[in-house]
């Protein structure tokens, strides 16, 4: 990566006046246009809006020059509401939805000088791990276009990995920032539950959803997190705990930081190439003075079951609002209100969303509630307790982000359970509400990126970013870029 294409580099260019926001914006839009037909990162490209914003920034340098993201192009997952800009969640249901308000993260980014160049493709309503559940077709992995970029924030990962934008926002309910970051060779951070306001995020599973950055470096992720973090009266789950100066935490000093590895959890089902890259990453961190030891998470093996019961239960409730009345698609020519609801939802939702609503309705229904939903909530308590105990012993827990590198398009679509099992290492951070980051830590023999995941104590994003940055200083994985033929 050239320094110029990072948040740090672009900010310096704006500050010194060596390039205008308009020039930077035009360059980003040109890259988007050159690559979009082969990679499909976006649902909507907001060229007019972006150039108008860039001109405003150029016109008033005194106001904008020193803002943390002044003139920085950014891509937003298309489940984040943008006032007057189509927001679809990659669903037919919202194909022409124009939000009447901005998500809090969107207004914070714009106040910080960021320029939104487009809304990125994702799995429909963020339900999936490959972007193949998008109603508008899958995104493609820049490292291997016959493979998925992961999901559900796949389009955001593609935009950053292919150099369209230096940073993007995604949302993470069970790994939807970290898994595509891992599969595309990026830094992806899911903040602590409550760290970032979800006002204006189209809700999937409200006890799990968080918004976070995808970037090329820990520094760039730190700058974006500092902008979007913090209390918001519009989201009662946002925390009053003040956000830290995340960039200032990147000192390179990780001496005596204790890293726990749940080796028992990694005994089965992890690709040997992934495990090899993971071991090398641990060596790198150890060489800088961190202490790596074994840690036990005895209930983490149940996380997939717990997650897919709780997330679908919450989704079945959240998605009840898509009924063809107040916004979104409505099926035409129905006889009465009841059949309008049922046909609207038949035609507006894709198969995975229907499957999850059905599963969630099932586990909440009379006679099954105790056996599935209540049981899952109890095991959630045990998973959270495992982490609490682990954090008495260590400062962060390390795992591979995913058991395998990027898989082929179509490889897992026929068997939903198989797709779900790939989320084994990411879902527990959401269940326990903990911050977790995925960072690039190597490649397979097929030149596919591998991700290292670090999970930390509540609100200790700074510690994770410091570890990520320290690992970056001693490796060059993050500097590699895919060959894109432009």
């Amino acid at each position: 990566m050239s320094e110029a294409a990072s948040v740090r580099g672009l900010r310096e260019q704006i500050r010194s006046g060596s390039r205008s926001a308009t020039e930077i914006c035009r360059e980003a839009l040109a890259t988007v246009k050159a690559l979009e037909s082969s990679l499909h990162a976006f649902v909507t490209i907001t060229e007019e809006h972006a150039l108008k914003r860039a001109a405003e920034i150029d016109k008033d340098p005194r106001r904008w020059r020193d803002k943390p993201l002044s003139g920085v192009p950014i891509a937003l997952k298309d489940n984040l509401c943008t006032r007057g800009i189509r927001t679809t969640a990659s669903s037919r249901m919202l194909e022409s939805f124009l939000p009447p308000y901005d998500a809090t993260v969107v207004s914070r980014l714009e106040e910080a000088g960021a320029i939104i160049v487009g809304k990125t493709n994702c799995d429909e309503f963020a339900m999936g791990s490959s972007t193949e559940n998008s109603a508008f077709g899958p995104s493609r992995n820049p490292w291997a276009p016959d493979r998925t970029p992961g999901g559900s924030s796949g389009g955001s990962a593609v935009a950053v990995a292919s150099g369209m934008t230096p940073v993007a926002l995604g949302s993470d309910t069970g790994g939807s920032i970290r898994q595509p970051a891992a599969l595309c060779g990026l830094v992806g951070l899911k903040p602590t539950y409550g760290r970032v306001s979800r006002y204006g995020l189209l809700a999937f599973a409200s006890s799990l959803d968080q918004i976070g950055p995808l970037a090329r470096t820990a520094y760039d992720a730190a700058v974006v997190l500092a902008v979007i973090a913090g209390a918001d009266p519009a989201d009662a789950t946002s925390t009053p705990t003040p956000a830290a100066d995340y960039a200032a935490a990147l000192t390179g000093d990780i001496r005596q930081i204790r890293i726990g590895v749940p080796w028992r959890l990694l005994e089965n089902g992890v690709d040997p190439a992934v495990l090899q890259a993971f071991r090398v990453a641990l060596d790198v961190i150890r060489a800088r003075g961190a202490v790596v030891e074994h840690v036990d998470l005895p209930h983490a093996k149940h996380a997939i079951s717990v997650y897919y019961l709780i997330a679908t239960a919450e989704a079945s409730s959240n998605l009840a609002r898509y009924d063809g009345v107040r916004y979104g698609y409505r099926a035409p020519n129905t006889a009465d209100l009841g059949s309008m609801y049922a046909r609207t939802r038949r035609l507006g939702f894709g198969p995975e969303v229907k499957r999850r609503i059905m599963l969630g309705t099932y586990v909440l229904s009379a006679g099954y509630y105790d056996a599935y939903y209540l049981k899952a909530q109890q095991v959630r308590t045990l998973i959270t307790g495992d982490y609490q105990r682990a954090f008495d012993q260590v400062d962060a827990v390390a795992m591979p982000t995913t058991p395998t590198a990027a898989f082929r398009l179509g490889e897992r679509t026929a068997d939903p359970l198989q797709m779900y099992l790939g989320d084994v290492f990411t879902v527990s951070a959401n269940l326990a509400g903990l911050p977790a980051i995925s960072i690039p830590c190597g490649f397979t023999q097929e030149h596919l990126p591998v991700g290292l995941q670090l999970t930390g104590r509540r609100f200790e994003e700074a510690a994770l970013l410091r570890l990520a940055d320290a690992h970056e200083r001693d490796t060059d994985w993050w500097q590699r870029t895919p060959e894109l033929g432009i």
Binding site: P240, G324, Y327, D336, K354, L382, T384, L417
Partner: protein
């Protein structure tokens, strides 16, 4: 773990979820929900006696704020995305409810 969800259960759930399904979809969901729930039944082996359920991990206490009137979405904006609305009357329109 093998576990069966019947097609009539799928039809009952679809009615609760207000989703119209055709025959092949009912068959498919019966099989797939059976697979997923069958897998999730591994939780039955976990001892959860005396374990409290976790509904959320917000960790926050109730907070208070002054009860002040603040601006909210105006009626025109609230209606602008409706598939059918009577804007002068400020109403959403739906197909008939009673036969």
């Amino acid at each position: 773990m093998s576990f069966r969800v019947t097609t009539s259960e799928v039809e009952a759930i679809a009615a609760l979820a207000r989703i119209e399904l055709d025959g092949p979809e009912v068959e498919l969901f019966a099989r797939q929900l059976g697979d997923i729930l069958g897998y999730a039944r591994e939780l039955q082996a976990v001892n959860t006696s005396d374990v409290a359920p976790t509904a959320h991990v917000a960790g926050s206490q109730d907070t208070e704020r002054p009860d002040e009137i603040r601006p909210s979405l105006d009626r025109t904006s609230a209606l602008q995305n409706a598939p059918d609305a009577w804007s002068e009357g400020g109403l959403f329109k739906v197909p008939r409810v009673l036969g």
